[in-house]
Protein backbone atom coordinates (compact mmCIF):
# COMPACT_ATOMS: atom_id res chain seq x y z
CA UNK A 1 0.00 0.00 0.00
CA UNK A 2 1.32 3.39 -0.93
CA UNK A 3 0.81 6.24 1.51
CA UNK A 4 -2.10 8.49 0.47
CA UNK A 5 -1.08 12.10 0.10
CA UNK A 6 -2.59 15.42 -0.95
CA UNK A 7 -0.92 18.45 -2.49
CA UNK A 8 -2.33 21.84 -1.53
CA UNK A 9 -1.55 24.49 -4.15
CA UNK A 10 -2.05 23.87 -7.86
CA UNK A 11 0.54 26.34 -9.16
CA UNK A 12 3.91 25.52 -10.73
CA UNK A 13 5.36 23.87 -7.65
CA UNK A 14 2.32 21.82 -6.65
CA UNK A 15 1.80 20.60 -10.20
CA UNK A 16 5.46 19.69 -10.70
CA UNK A 17 5.41 17.84 -7.39
CA UNK A 18 2.38 15.86 -8.54
CA UNK A 19 4.35 14.51 -11.50
CA UNK A 20 7.15 13.45 -9.19
CA UNK A 21 4.85 11.74 -6.70
CA UNK A 22 3.18 9.82 -9.50
CA UNK A 23 6.54 8.10 -9.95
CA UNK A 24 7.08 7.48 -6.24
CA UNK A 25 7.32 3.91 -5.07
CA UNK A 26 5.90 4.80 -1.66
CA UNK A 27 3.63 7.84 -2.03
CA UNK A 28 0.31 8.04 -3.82
CA UNK A 29 -0.78 11.56 -4.89
CA UNK A 30 -4.53 11.18 -4.39
CA UNK A 31 -5.54 14.82 -4.67
CA UNK A 32 -4.39 18.19 -5.98
CA UNK A 33 -6.14 20.94 -4.04
CA UNK A 34 -6.42 24.40 -5.56
CA UNK A 35 -8.70 27.40 -5.39
CA UNK A 36 -9.04 28.20 -9.09
CA UNK A 37 -11.07 25.74 -11.14
CA UNK A 38 -9.45 27.10 -14.30
CA UNK A 39 -5.89 26.47 -13.17
CA UNK A 40 -3.69 24.53 -15.53
CA UNK A 41 -2.46 22.40 -12.66
CA UNK A 42 -5.95 21.11 -11.87
CA UNK A 43 -6.68 20.26 -15.47
CA UNK A 44 -3.37 18.38 -15.68
CA UNK A 45 -4.38 16.48 -12.54
CA UNK A 46 -7.69 15.44 -14.10
CA UNK A 47 -5.89 14.23 -17.22
CA UNK A 48 -3.56 12.15 -15.07
CA UNK A 49 -6.36 10.65 -13.00
CA UNK A 50 -5.52 12.57 -9.83
CA UNK A 51 -8.57 13.95 -8.03
CA UNK A 52 -8.65 17.73 -8.58
CA UNK A 53 -10.60 20.24 -6.53
CA UNK A 54 -10.78 23.99 -6.44
CA UNK A 55 -12.48 24.04 -3.04
CA UNK A 56 -9.29 24.69 -1.13
CA UNK A 57 -8.13 23.42 2.21
CA UNK A 58 -11.71 23.00 3.52
CA UNK A 59 -12.20 20.21 1.00
CA UNK A 60 -9.13 18.51 2.36
CA UNK A 61 -10.05 18.96 6.03
CA UNK A 62 -13.52 17.53 5.56
CA UNK A 63 -12.04 14.26 4.30
CA UNK A 64 -8.76 14.29 6.20
CA UNK A 65 -9.02 10.62 7.11
CA UNK A 66 -8.36 9.69 3.50
CA UNK A 67 -4.81 11.10 3.70
CA UNK A 68 -1.67 10.77 5.81
CA UNK A 69 0.68 13.40 4.34
CA UNK A 70 0.00 16.87 3.00
CA UNK A 71 2.40 18.83 0.84
CA UNK A 72 1.78 22.56 1.02
CA UNK A 73 2.83 24.54 -2.06
CA UNK A 74 0.86 27.76 -1.62
CA UNK A 75 2.50 30.76 0.04
CA UNK A 76 3.96 31.54 3.43
CA UNK A 77 0.89 33.53 4.43
CA UNK A 78 -1.52 30.82 3.39
CA UNK A 79 0.45 28.05 5.06
CA UNK A 80 0.61 30.04 8.28
CA UNK A 81 -3.19 29.85 8.26
CA UNK A 82 -3.34 26.17 7.22
CA UNK A 83 -0.64 24.71 9.43
CA UNK A 84 -2.65 24.36 12.63
CA UNK A 85 -5.72 23.08 10.77
CA UNK A 86 -3.68 20.39 9.03
CA UNK A 87 -2.03 19.39 12.30
CA UNK A 88 -5.35 19.22 14.17
CA UNK A 89 -6.70 17.01 11.42
CA UNK A 90 -3.93 14.54 12.26
CA UNK A 91 -1.98 15.03 9.06
CA UNK A 92 1.75 15.51 8.64
CA UNK A 93 2.67 18.66 6.69
CA UNK A 94 5.63 19.04 4.37
CA UNK A 95 5.88 22.77 3.76
CA UNK A 96 7.41 24.08 0.51
CA UNK A 97 6.58 27.72 1.33
CA UNK A 98 8.88 30.03 3.30
CA UNK A 99 6.46 29.95 6.27
CA UNK A 100 9.05 28.14 8.42
CA UNK A 101 6.55 26.88 10.97
CA UNK A 102 8.20 23.51 11.40
CA UNK A 103 11.93 22.80 11.54
CA UNK A 104 13.93 23.27 8.34
CA UNK A 105 15.11 20.04 6.74
CA UNK A 106 17.66 19.17 4.08
CA UNK A 107 17.32 15.46 3.27
CA UNK A 108 20.93 14.25 3.38
CA UNK A 109 21.89 16.52 6.28
CA UNK A 110 19.34 16.66 9.10
CA UNK A 111 16.10 14.96 8.12
CA UNK A 112 16.68 12.11 10.57
CA UNK A 113 16.57 14.57 13.47
CA UNK A 114 13.04 15.67 12.57
CA UNK A 115 11.22 12.49 11.61
CA UNK A 116 8.62 12.92 14.35
CA UNK A 117 7.62 16.52 13.70
CA UNK A 118 4.05 17.35 12.63
CA UNK A 119 5.39 19.92 10.16
CA UNK A 120 8.71 20.26 8.36
CA UNK A 121 9.89 23.07 6.11
CA UNK A 122 12.02 22.99 2.95
CA UNK A 123 13.78 26.39 3.51
CA UNK A 124 14.55 27.82 0.04
CA UNK A 125 15.70 26.48 -3.32
CA UNK A 126 19.12 28.00 -2.72
CA UNK A 127 19.24 26.38 0.70
CA UNK A 128 18.40 22.93 -0.67
CA UNK A 129 21.11 23.34 -3.31
CA UNK A 130 23.90 24.67 -1.11
CA UNK A 131 23.47 23.62 2.52
CA UNK A 132 24.49 20.02 1.69
CA UNK A 133 27.85 21.31 0.41
CA UNK A 134 28.48 23.36 3.55
CA UNK A 135 27.55 20.34 5.66
CA UNK A 136 29.92 18.20 3.60
CA UNK A 137 32.78 20.53 4.52
CA UNK A 138 31.81 20.98 8.17
CA UNK A 139 31.82 17.20 8.64
CA UNK A 140 35.56 17.19 7.91
CA UNK A 141 36.73 20.57 9.28
CA UNK A 142 35.45 23.78 10.84
CA UNK A 143 33.94 26.36 8.47
CA UNK A 144 34.03 29.78 10.14
CA UNK A 145 32.19 31.42 7.24
CA UNK A 146 30.16 30.09 4.30
CA UNK A 147 28.70 32.06 1.42
CA UNK A 148 26.49 31.05 -1.45
CA UNK A 149 25.44 32.68 -4.71
CA UNK A 150 22.32 31.35 -6.41
CA UNK A 151 21.55 32.53 -9.91
CA UNK A 152 18.16 31.66 -11.31
CA UNK A 153 16.33 32.46 -14.52
CA UNK A 154 14.09 35.49 -14.07
CA UNK A 155 11.18 33.53 -15.47
CA UNK A 156 11.47 30.96 -12.71
CA UNK A 157 11.25 33.50 -9.86
CA UNK A 158 7.64 34.01 -8.88
CA UNK A 159 5.99 37.10 -7.42
CA UNK A 160 6.34 35.81 -3.85
CA UNK A 161 10.13 35.65 -4.15
CA UNK A 162 10.30 39.01 -5.90
CA UNK A 163 8.24 40.92 -3.38
CA UNK A 164 10.25 39.60 -0.47
CA UNK A 165 13.71 38.78 -1.74
CA UNK A 166 15.18 39.47 1.71
CA UNK A 167 13.29 36.42 2.92
CA UNK A 168 15.41 34.30 0.57
CA UNK A 169 18.72 35.86 1.59
CA UNK A 170 18.02 35.77 5.32
CA UNK A 171 16.45 32.31 5.45
CA UNK A 172 19.17 30.76 3.31
CA UNK A 173 21.96 32.44 5.28
CA UNK A 174 20.48 31.16 8.53
CA UNK A 175 20.26 27.64 7.09
CA UNK A 176 23.97 27.72 6.24
CA UNK A 177 24.61 28.33 9.93
CA UNK A 178 22.00 26.18 11.70
CA UNK A 179 21.93 23.18 9.35
CA UNK A 180 25.20 23.56 7.45
CA UNK A 181 26.98 24.44 10.73
CA UNK A 182 29.05 27.29 9.33
CA UNK A 183 30.11 29.89 11.89
CA UNK A 184 28.54 32.63 9.80
CA UNK A 185 26.48 32.40 6.66
CA UNK A 186 25.79 34.77 3.78
CA UNK A 187 23.48 34.27 0.81
CA UNK A 188 23.24 36.17 -2.46
CA UNK A 189 20.55 35.67 -5.10
CA UNK A 190 20.79 36.90 -8.67
CA UNK A 191 17.95 36.90 -11.19
CA UNK A 192 19.13 36.64 -14.79
CA UNK A 193 16.68 37.40 -17.63
CA UNK A 194 18.78 35.86 -20.44
CA UNK A 195 16.95 34.02 -23.20
CA UNK A 196 17.08 31.10 -23.52
CA UNK A 197 16.85 31.00 -19.72
CA UNK A 198 19.89 29.92 -17.79
CA UNK A 199 19.89 26.70 -15.82
CA UNK A 200 19.98 27.31 -12.08
CA UNK A 201 23.53 27.89 -10.86
CA UNK A 202 24.87 27.84 -7.33
CA UNK A 203 28.31 28.66 -6.06
CA UNK A 204 29.30 27.72 -2.52
CA UNK A 205 32.33 29.29 -0.87
CA UNK A 206 33.50 27.77 2.42
CA UNK A 207 36.26 29.38 4.47
CA UNK A 208 38.81 26.80 5.62
CA UNK A 209 40.91 26.86 8.78
CA UNK A 210 44.67 26.38 9.20
CA UNK A 211 45.65 22.75 8.75
CA UNK A 212 42.65 21.66 6.68
CA UNK A 213 42.96 18.43 4.71
CA UNK A 214 42.30 19.36 1.08
CA UNK A 215 41.72 15.81 -0.07
CA UNK A 216 39.19 15.12 2.66
CA UNK A 217 37.32 18.32 1.83
CA UNK A 218 37.13 17.52 -1.86
CA UNK A 219 36.12 13.89 -1.34
CA UNK A 220 33.44 14.85 1.16
CA UNK A 221 31.95 17.39 -1.27
CA UNK A 222 31.98 14.91 -4.13
CA UNK A 223 30.26 12.28 -2.00
CA UNK A 224 27.60 14.76 -0.95
CA UNK A 225 26.92 15.80 -4.53
CA UNK A 226 26.41 12.14 -5.44
CA UNK A 227 23.99 11.75 -2.54
CA UNK A 228 21.87 14.79 -3.48
CA UNK A 229 21.87 13.56 -7.08
CA UNK A 230 20.07 10.40 -5.94
CA UNK A 231 16.92 12.51 -5.50
CA UNK A 232 17.75 15.49 -7.77
CA UNK A 233 19.17 13.80 -10.88
CA UNK A 234 20.17 17.12 -12.50
CA UNK A 235 22.32 18.21 -9.53
CA UNK A 236 25.98 18.22 -10.54
CA UNK A 237 29.40 19.79 -10.15
CA UNK A 238 30.55 22.06 -12.97
CA UNK A 239 34.17 21.40 -12.05
CA UNK A 240 35.99 19.66 -9.21
CA UNK A 241 35.94 21.83 -6.06
CA UNK A 242 38.52 24.64 -6.36
CA UNK A 243 40.75 25.40 -3.38
CA UNK A 244 42.41 28.80 -3.12
CA UNK A 245 45.03 29.68 -0.53
CA UNK A 246 44.29 32.84 1.45
CA UNK A 247 44.43 34.44 3.80
CA UNK A 248 40.91 35.80 3.39
CA UNK A 249 39.58 38.54 5.62
CA UNK A 250 36.06 37.07 5.93
CA UNK A 251 33.27 38.39 8.09
CA UNK A 252 33.70 35.19 10.10
CA UNK A 253 37.37 36.00 10.80
CA UNK A 254 40.62 35.41 8.93
CA UNK A 255 40.51 32.19 6.92
CA UNK A 256 43.61 30.30 5.74
CA UNK A 257 41.97 29.18 2.51
CA UNK A 258 38.66 28.61 0.82
CA UNK A 259 36.97 25.95 -1.23
CA UNK A 260 34.71 27.06 -4.08
CA UNK A 261 32.11 24.63 -5.38
CA UNK A 262 30.38 25.40 -8.69
CA UNK A 263 27.05 23.62 -9.06
CA UNK A 264 24.41 23.38 -11.72
CA UNK A 265 20.87 22.18 -11.06
CA UNK A 266 18.97 21.09 -14.12
CA UNK A 267 15.33 20.25 -13.57
CA UNK A 268 13.70 17.01 -14.66
CA UNK A 269 11.35 18.96 -16.92
CA UNK A 270 8.22 17.37 -15.42
CA UNK A 271 5.88 20.35 -15.42
CA UNK A 272 8.45 23.12 -15.26
CA UNK A 273 11.10 23.50 -17.96
CA UNK A 274 14.54 22.01 -17.24
CA UNK A 275 16.13 25.43 -16.65
CA UNK A 276 14.00 25.85 -13.52
CA UNK A 277 16.29 23.70 -11.38
CA UNK A 278 15.46 26.03 -8.49
CA UNK A 279 11.87 24.79 -8.50
CA UNK A 280 12.81 21.21 -9.32
CA UNK A 281 15.14 20.91 -6.34
CA UNK A 282 12.31 22.01 -4.05
CA UNK A 283 9.82 19.48 -5.39
CA UNK A 284 12.47 16.74 -5.53
CA UNK A 285 13.56 17.41 -1.95
CA UNK A 286 9.92 17.49 -0.83
CA UNK A 287 9.28 14.13 -2.48
CA UNK A 288 12.37 12.70 -0.79
CA UNK A 289 11.25 14.04 2.60
CA UNK A 290 7.77 12.59 2.07
CA UNK A 291 9.13 9.22 1.10
CA UNK A 292 11.47 9.12 4.07
CA UNK A 293 8.67 10.04 6.49
CA UNK A 294 6.44 7.46 4.87
CA UNK A 295 9.02 4.72 5.33
CA UNK A 296 10.33 5.64 8.76
CA UNK A 297 7.17 6.77 10.42
CA UNK A 298 4.21 5.40 8.54
CA UNK A 299 5.69 1.97 7.86
CA UNK A 300 5.44 2.17 4.12
CA UNK A 301 7.39 -0.40 2.20
CA UNK A 302 8.61 0.34 -1.21
CA UNK A 303 7.07 -1.81 -3.84
CA UNK A 304 9.70 -3.47 -5.87
Amino acid sequence: MKIPTAIVGSGNIGTDLMYKLLRSPVLQPDALVGIDSESDGLSRARELGVEATHEGVDWLLSRADRFRLVFEATSAKVHARHAALIKDAGLIAIDLTPAAIGPAVVPPVNLEEHLNEPNVNLITCGGQATIPIVAAVTRVCAVPYAEIVSAVASRSAGPGTRQNIDEFTRTTARGLETIGRAGRGKAIIILNPAEPPLIMRNTVYCALPEGFDAEKVVVSIEEMVAEVATYVPGYRLKSPPIIDEGPFNTTGGIAAARVMTLLEVEGAGDYLPPYAGNLDIMTSAAARVGETLARMRLGAEARA
Binding site: I189, I190, L191, R201, T203, S239, T250, L262
Partner: protein, 338 residues
Amino acid sequence: MTRSFRLLDSTLRDGSHAVSHSFTPEQARTVARALDDAGVPVIEIAHGDGLGGSSFNFGFSLHDDRDLMRAAAGEVKNAKLAVVLMPGIGVADDLHEVREIGVTVARIATHCTEADIAEQHIGLARDLGMEAIGFLMMSHMNEPAPLAEQARLMESYGAQCVYVADSAGSMTMPEVRARVVAVREAVSCDIGFHGHHNLSLAVANSLVAIEEGATHIDGCLCGLGAGSGNCPTEILIAVAEKFGLSTGVDLFRIMDAAEEVVRPLMRRAQIVDRSALLLGYAGVTSSYLLHAQRASARFGVDTKDILVELGRRKVVSGQEDMIVDVAVSLAGRAATVT
Protein backbone atom coordinates in the same frame (compact mmCIF):
# COMPACT_ATOMS: atom_id res chain seq x y z
CA MET B 1 20.95 75.01 -22.69
CA THR B 2 20.40 76.44 -19.23
CA ARG B 3 19.65 73.27 -17.35
CA SER B 4 21.46 72.26 -14.23
CA PHE B 5 22.02 68.91 -12.61
CA ARG B 6 22.76 67.48 -9.21
CA LEU B 7 26.14 65.77 -9.12
CA LEU B 8 26.56 62.55 -7.17
CA ASP B 9 30.20 61.62 -6.67
CA SER B 10 30.77 57.90 -6.28
CA THR B 11 34.55 57.86 -5.82
CA LEU B 12 34.08 56.19 -2.44
CA ARG B 13 31.61 53.59 -3.81
CA ASP B 14 32.17 52.75 -7.50
CA GLY B 15 35.79 53.85 -7.04
CA SER B 16 36.10 51.15 -4.42
CA HIS B 17 36.20 48.53 -7.20
CA ALA B 18 39.42 50.04 -8.51
CA VAL B 19 41.17 49.66 -5.16
CA SER B 20 39.62 46.22 -4.45
CA HIS B 21 37.48 47.65 -1.64
CA SER B 22 40.46 48.67 0.46
CA PHE B 23 39.56 52.28 1.36
CA THR B 24 40.55 53.24 4.89
CA PRO B 25 38.55 55.50 7.20
CA GLU B 26 41.29 58.12 6.81
CA GLN B 27 40.97 58.04 3.01
CA ALA B 28 37.17 58.25 3.30
CA ARG B 29 37.59 61.31 5.51
CA THR B 30 40.03 63.01 3.15
CA VAL B 31 38.04 62.35 -0.02
CA ALA B 32 34.73 63.31 1.58
CA ARG B 33 36.20 66.54 2.91
CA ALA B 34 37.61 67.50 -0.50
CA LEU B 35 34.29 66.77 -2.21
CA ASP B 36 32.32 68.66 0.40
CA ASP B 37 34.69 71.66 0.20
CA ALA B 38 34.23 71.72 -3.57
CA GLY B 39 30.47 71.90 -3.16
CA VAL B 40 29.56 68.39 -4.32
CA PRO B 41 25.99 67.90 -3.11
CA VAL B 42 25.87 64.08 -2.79
CA ILE B 43 28.69 61.70 -1.85
CA GLU B 44 28.20 57.98 -2.24
CA ILE B 45 30.11 55.61 0.00
CA ALA B 46 29.94 51.83 0.31
CA HIS B 47 31.50 48.62 -0.91
CA GLY B 48 31.59 48.77 -4.71
CA ASP B 49 28.76 46.25 -4.89
CA GLY B 50 26.75 48.15 -2.33
CA LEU B 51 25.58 47.29 1.16
CA GLY B 52 26.33 43.66 2.00
CA GLY B 53 28.81 43.51 -0.87
CA SER B 54 31.76 42.47 1.29
CA SER B 55 32.03 38.79 0.40
CA PHE B 56 34.07 36.07 -1.29
CA ASN B 57 32.09 36.71 -4.45
CA PHE B 58 32.80 40.44 -4.71
CA GLY B 59 35.85 40.74 -2.49
CA PHE B 60 35.91 41.49 1.21
CA SER B 61 36.18 45.09 2.37
CA LEU B 62 39.42 45.85 4.16
CA HIS B 63 37.46 48.08 6.55
CA ASP B 64 33.81 47.81 7.48
CA ASP B 65 31.78 50.08 5.17
CA ARG B 66 30.03 51.54 8.15
CA ASP B 67 33.34 52.76 9.59
CA LEU B 68 34.03 54.53 6.30
CA MET B 69 30.57 56.12 6.42
CA ARG B 70 31.07 57.25 10.00
CA ALA B 71 34.41 58.77 9.04
CA ALA B 72 32.85 60.63 6.10
CA ALA B 73 29.79 61.66 8.10
CA GLY B 74 32.05 63.31 10.67
CA GLU B 75 33.70 65.34 7.95
CA VAL B 76 31.02 66.73 5.64
CA LYS B 77 29.25 70.00 6.35
CA ASN B 78 26.79 70.26 3.47
CA ALA B 79 26.89 67.15 1.32
CA LYS B 80 24.37 64.37 1.69
CA LEU B 81 25.67 60.82 2.03
CA ALA B 82 24.34 58.10 -0.27
CA VAL B 83 24.60 54.32 -0.51
CA VAL B 84 23.70 51.66 -3.06
CA LEU B 85 21.79 48.54 -2.10
CA MET B 86 21.21 45.71 -4.57
CA PRO B 87 18.26 43.56 -3.44
CA GLY B 88 19.46 39.96 -3.34
CA ILE B 89 22.81 41.11 -1.92
CA GLY B 90 21.97 43.71 0.75
CA VAL B 91 18.98 43.43 3.06
CA ALA B 92 16.61 45.77 4.87
CA ASP B 93 18.66 45.68 8.09
CA ASP B 94 21.60 47.20 6.23
CA LEU B 95 19.51 50.23 5.33
CA HIS B 96 18.40 50.70 8.93
CA GLU B 97 22.03 50.67 10.05
CA VAL B 98 23.30 53.24 7.59
CA ARG B 99 20.34 55.52 8.29
CA GLU B 100 21.52 55.59 11.91
CA ILE B 101 24.98 56.64 10.74
CA GLY B 102 23.52 59.60 8.86
CA VAL B 103 23.14 58.35 5.28
CA THR B 104 20.08 60.05 3.77
CA VAL B 105 20.06 58.92 0.12
CA ALA B 106 19.33 55.27 -0.69
CA ARG B 107 19.91 54.06 -4.22
CA ILE B 108 18.18 50.73 -4.81
CA ALA B 109 19.78 48.98 -7.78
CA THR B 110 18.40 46.13 -9.85
CA HIS B 111 19.19 44.67 -13.23
CA CYS B 112 17.30 46.64 -15.88
CA THR B 113 14.54 44.03 -16.18
CA GLU B 114 14.04 43.18 -12.50
CA ALA B 115 12.70 46.38 -10.92
CA ASP B 116 10.02 44.49 -9.02
CA ILE B 117 12.55 43.08 -6.56
CA ALA B 118 13.14 46.65 -5.33
CA GLU B 119 9.65 47.36 -4.01
CA GLN B 120 10.45 46.34 -0.44
CA HIS B 121 13.66 48.36 -0.22
CA ILE B 122 12.42 51.51 -1.96
CA GLY B 123 9.44 51.47 0.38
CA LEU B 124 11.70 51.03 3.40
CA ALA B 125 13.96 53.89 2.32
CA ARG B 126 10.91 56.17 2.18
CA ASP B 127 9.66 54.89 5.54
CA LEU B 128 13.06 55.74 7.03
CA GLY B 129 12.76 59.28 5.68
CA MET B 130 15.51 58.76 3.13
CA GLU B 131 15.56 60.01 -0.44
CA ALA B 132 14.82 56.88 -2.50
CA ILE B 133 16.43 56.50 -5.92
CA GLY B 134 15.82 53.58 -8.27
CA PHE B 135 18.87 52.48 -10.27
CA LEU B 136 18.45 50.35 -13.39
CA MET B 137 21.80 48.63 -13.94
CA MET B 138 23.01 47.44 -17.34
CA SER B 139 20.38 49.58 -19.06
CA HIS B 140 21.90 48.71 -22.44
CA MET B 141 20.40 45.21 -22.05
CA ASN B 142 16.82 46.47 -22.23
CA GLU B 143 15.08 48.33 -25.04
CA PRO B 144 13.83 51.86 -24.35
CA ALA B 145 10.11 51.03 -23.98
CA PRO B 146 10.43 48.08 -21.57
CA LEU B 147 13.17 49.97 -19.70
CA ALA B 148 10.76 52.86 -19.23
CA GLU B 149 8.18 50.41 -17.89
CA GLN B 150 10.74 49.26 -15.30
CA ALA B 151 11.38 52.90 -14.35
CA ARG B 152 7.65 53.42 -13.96
CA LEU B 153 7.50 50.45 -11.58
CA MET B 154 10.27 51.94 -9.44
CA GLU B 155 8.44 55.25 -9.34
CA SER B 156 5.27 53.45 -8.29
CA TYR B 157 7.15 51.94 -5.32
CA GLY B 158 8.11 55.42 -4.17
CA ALA B 159 11.35 56.22 -6.01
CA GLN B 160 11.86 59.98 -6.29
CA CYS B 161 14.37 59.56 -9.08
CA VAL B 162 15.16 56.71 -11.45
CA TYR B 163 18.58 56.21 -13.02
CA VAL B 164 19.48 54.84 -16.41
CA ALA B 165 22.80 53.19 -15.55
CA ASP B 166 25.29 52.24 -18.24
CA SER B 167 27.11 49.81 -15.95
CA ALA B 168 29.05 48.23 -18.79
CA GLY B 169 30.03 51.55 -20.38
CA SER B 170 28.51 50.07 -23.47
CA MET B 171 26.06 52.65 -24.75
CA THR B 172 26.56 55.25 -27.46
CA MET B 173 24.83 58.63 -27.42
CA PRO B 174 21.78 57.65 -29.51
CA GLU B 175 21.19 54.67 -27.21
CA VAL B 176 21.36 56.86 -24.12
CA ARG B 177 19.09 59.45 -25.71
CA ALA B 178 16.44 56.88 -26.66
CA ARG B 179 16.37 55.44 -23.14
CA VAL B 180 16.26 58.74 -21.29
CA VAL B 181 13.50 60.00 -23.60
CA ALA B 182 11.46 56.83 -23.05
CA VAL B 183 11.90 57.04 -19.29
CA ARG B 184 11.01 60.75 -19.29
CA GLU B 185 7.74 59.99 -21.03
CA ALA B 186 6.91 57.22 -18.56
CA VAL B 187 7.66 58.85 -15.20
CA SER B 188 7.11 62.18 -13.50
CA CYS B 189 9.90 61.74 -10.96
CA ASP B 190 13.49 62.88 -11.57
CA ILE B 191 15.79 61.01 -13.94
CA GLY B 192 19.47 60.25 -13.47
CA PHE B 193 22.32 58.89 -15.58
CA HIS B 194 25.34 56.84 -14.49
CA GLY B 195 28.06 56.40 -17.08
CA HIS B 196 31.18 54.27 -17.48
CA HIS B 197 34.05 55.08 -19.73
CA ASN B 198 34.83 51.84 -21.58
CA LEU B 199 33.98 53.43 -24.94
CA SER B 200 35.27 56.86 -23.81
CA LEU B 201 31.72 58.19 -23.97
CA ALA B 202 30.85 58.70 -20.30
CA VAL B 203 30.99 62.52 -20.42
CA ALA B 204 29.27 62.79 -23.79
CA ASN B 205 26.58 60.35 -22.71
CA SER B 206 25.99 62.33 -19.53
CA LEU B 207 25.49 65.51 -21.58
CA VAL B 208 23.01 63.78 -23.86
CA ALA B 209 21.11 62.53 -20.81
CA ILE B 210 21.02 66.09 -19.47
CA GLU B 211 19.76 67.40 -22.81
CA GLU B 212 16.88 64.94 -22.58
CA GLY B 213 15.95 65.87 -19.06
CA ALA B 214 18.19 63.95 -16.66
CA THR B 215 18.92 66.09 -13.60
CA HIS B 216 21.07 63.69 -11.57
CA ILE B 217 24.48 62.71 -12.92
CA ASP B 218 27.14 60.45 -11.40
CA GLY B 219 30.89 60.86 -11.54
CA CYS B 220 34.05 59.74 -9.78
CA LEU B 221 37.19 61.79 -9.24
CA CYS B 222 39.84 60.82 -11.82
CA GLY B 223 37.21 58.42 -13.14
CA LEU B 224 38.21 56.05 -10.34
CA GLY B 225 35.93 53.08 -10.80
CA ALA B 226 35.11 49.74 -12.29
CA GLY B 227 36.40 48.88 -15.74
CA SER B 228 38.13 51.82 -17.37
CA GLY B 229 36.36 53.91 -14.80
CA ASN B 230 33.35 56.14 -14.34
CA CYS B 231 32.46 59.50 -15.77
CA PRO B 232 35.35 61.62 -14.37
CA THR B 233 33.78 64.15 -12.02
CA GLU B 234 36.29 66.94 -12.66
CA ILE B 235 35.95 66.63 -16.44
CA LEU B 236 32.16 66.54 -16.19
CA ILE B 237 32.19 69.77 -14.17
CA ALA B 238 34.61 71.47 -16.58
CA VAL B 239 32.48 70.49 -19.57
CA ALA B 240 29.30 71.49 -17.74
CA GLU B 241 30.72 74.99 -17.29
CA LYS B 242 31.44 75.21 -21.00
CA PHE B 243 27.84 74.22 -21.67
CA GLY B 244 26.60 76.81 -19.19
CA LEU B 245 25.19 74.19 -16.86
CA SER B 246 25.13 75.16 -13.21
CA THR B 247 26.04 72.55 -10.65
CA GLY B 248 27.17 74.51 -7.61
CA VAL B 249 30.50 72.67 -7.74
CA ASP B 250 33.69 74.75 -7.78
CA LEU B 251 35.71 73.70 -10.83
CA PHE B 252 39.14 74.51 -9.47
CA ARG B 253 38.52 72.88 -6.12
CA ILE B 254 37.19 69.72 -7.77
CA MET B 255 40.24 69.62 -10.06
CA ASP B 256 42.45 69.92 -6.98
CA ALA B 257 40.52 67.16 -5.24
CA ALA B 258 41.07 64.87 -8.22
CA GLU B 259 44.74 65.70 -8.63
CA GLU B 260 45.89 66.00 -5.04
CA VAL B 261 43.57 63.71 -3.09
CA VAL B 262 42.50 60.88 -5.36
CA ARG B 263 45.33 60.53 -7.89
CA PRO B 264 47.84 59.56 -5.16
CA LEU B 265 45.48 56.77 -4.04
CA MET B 266 45.22 55.18 -7.45
CA ARG B 267 46.76 51.76 -8.00
CA ARG B 268 46.39 51.80 -11.75
CA ALA B 269 45.68 54.36 -14.40
CA GLN B 270 42.04 54.52 -15.47
CA ILE B 271 42.62 53.91 -19.12
CA VAL B 272 40.70 52.17 -21.86
CA ASP B 273 42.99 49.23 -22.42
CA ARG B 274 41.98 46.26 -24.52
CA SER B 275 40.15 44.52 -21.68
CA ALA B 276 38.19 47.61 -20.73
CA LEU B 277 37.32 48.28 -24.34
CA LEU B 278 36.06 44.72 -24.60
CA LEU B 279 33.81 45.26 -21.58
CA GLY B 280 32.20 48.17 -23.35
CA TYR B 281 32.08 46.47 -26.71
CA ALA B 282 30.74 43.14 -25.38
CA GLY B 283 28.44 44.81 -22.83
CA VAL B 284 29.91 43.13 -19.75
CA THR B 285 29.56 44.87 -16.40
CA SER B 286 32.60 47.01 -15.62
CA SER B 287 33.20 45.57 -12.15
CA TYR B 288 34.18 42.24 -13.71
CA LEU B 289 37.48 43.57 -15.05
CA LEU B 290 39.79 43.01 -12.09
CA HIS B 291 38.11 39.71 -11.20
CA ALA B 292 38.64 38.52 -14.78
CA GLN B 293 42.32 39.53 -14.64
CA ARG B 294 42.75 37.55 -11.43
CA ALA B 295 41.02 34.51 -12.91
CA SER B 296 43.22 34.88 -15.98
CA ALA B 297 46.34 34.64 -13.83
CA ARG B 298 44.95 31.84 -11.66
CA PHE B 299 43.81 29.54 -14.47
CA GLY B 300 46.18 30.56 -17.24
CA VAL B 301 43.62 31.78 -19.74
CA ASP B 302 43.35 35.10 -21.55
CA THR B 303 41.33 37.89 -19.89
CA LYS B 304 39.99 38.78 -23.32
CA ASP B 305 38.59 35.28 -23.85
CA ILE B 306 36.96 35.31 -20.41
CA LEU B 307 35.23 38.64 -21.08
CA VAL B 308 33.98 37.62 -24.51
CA GLU B 309 32.54 34.39 -23.11
CA LEU B 310 30.86 36.28 -20.23
CA GLY B 311 29.25 38.55 -22.81
CA ARG B 312 28.06 35.56 -24.79
CA ARG B 313 26.49 34.06 -21.64
CA LYS B 314 24.64 37.33 -20.93
CA VAL B 315 25.74 37.48 -17.31
CA VAL B 316 24.36 40.31 -15.20
CA SER B 317 25.81 42.31 -12.30
CA GLY B 318 26.54 40.10 -9.32
CA GLN B 319 27.57 36.94 -11.15
CA GLU B 320 31.29 37.25 -10.34
CA ASP B 321 31.35 33.51 -9.61
CA MET B 322 30.76 32.91 -13.32
CA ILE B 323 34.14 34.47 -14.07
CA VAL B 324 35.81 31.52 -12.37
CA ASP B 325 33.37 29.16 -14.03
CA VAL B 326 34.24 30.53 -17.45
CA ALA B 327 37.98 30.52 -16.71
CA VAL B 328 37.84 26.92 -15.54
CA SER B 329 35.91 25.77 -18.55
CA LEU B 330 38.20 27.70 -20.90
CA ALA B 331 41.22 26.18 -19.23
CA GLY B 332 39.70 22.93 -20.40
CA ARG B 333 40.97 21.11 -17.42
CA ALA B 334 39.85 20.49 -13.92
CA ALA B 335 41.35 22.99 -11.55
CA THR B 336 42.68 21.10 -8.62
CA VAL B 337 44.25 21.78 -5.28
CA THR B 338 46.98 24.41 -5.40
